[in-house]
């Protein structure tokens, strides 16, 4: 049982380049999320998905796009990378129970630098 798997672990981009961060989970969770973590700022939600084909914006969606074609996969696309997107990106999943107490399961993160 791998849990939440993110690739790549590290990446350096030049300004204006594009890339896709991959995320896959094998826990059959319906909810998936993308967060970014900046020093001293905690985790900020970029996008989330409540199921295949359904996505919505979080707190900081600008400069990013997502898709969810299957339950397992939730890739994050960066178009026209900017230095402000230098961050550590975490994908997470949860099984929503309707109680408001869904535990988030995180991947190990992707450290992205835009130079």
């Amino acid at each position: 049982n791998a849990g939440v798997t993110q690739t790549p672990k590290f990446r350096i981009l030049k300004i204006g380049q594009s890339m896709t961060l991959q995320c896959a989970q094998d826990m059959n969770h319906n909810y998936m999320y993308w967060y970014r973590q900046d020093p001293g700022m905690g985790l900020k939600l970029i996008y989330y998905s409540v199921g295949a084909g359904i996505t919505d914006k979080g707190e900081v969606p600008n400069g990013y796009n997502v898709s969810r074609s299957t339950t397992e996969d939730f890739p994050l696309r960066l178009e026209l990378a900017a230095p402000s997107q230098t961050s550590v990106y975490f994908c997470a999943s949860s099984l929503q129970t309707g109680t408001g107490a869904g535990e988030l399961f995180f991947g190990s993160g992707t450290q992205l630098s835009v130079l």
Partner: protein, 114 residues
């Protein structure tokens, strides 16, 4: 109003001592308060959580104290060990129509020295 405040930013505790991390919130719609623990190079993992109808929850050496009227909650780590050295995030969750909105505090870096 959606913010969760957390202090201190960093904490150094001697082995065997008590580590205390404090958090505060404003939004009374929050109804679930988890703490996540993050080791270097890893993603956060759920450590312990509490509902606002309970004033205290203990799991092993970890205890959450919750003060609903003050809108504050704290994590106490008793008999702190070097293996507890990590970043701790408090969070608050609000049930929305489509998902549970989780707001994270900025984190506390804990170092437990021998």
């Amino acid at each position: 109003q959606q913010q969760v405040k957390q202090s201190p930013q960093s904490l150094i505790v001697q082995k065997g001592g008590i580590s205390i991390i404090n958090c505060a919130y404003e939004n009374t719609a929050f109804d679930y308060f988890p703490w996540y623990q993050q080791f270097p190079g890893k993603g956060p993992a759920l450590l312990i959580a509490i509902r606002p109808d309970v004033s205290e929850k203990k799991e092993g050496r970890f205890t959450i104290s919750f003060n609903k009227s003050a809108k504050q909650f704290s994590l106490h780590i008793m008999d702190s060990q070097p293996g507890d050295s990590a970043t701790y995030f408090c969070a608050a969750s609000e049930k929305k129509t489509s998902y549970d909105k989780v707001i994270f505090g900025p984190g506390t870096s804990l170092s437990v020295i021998p």
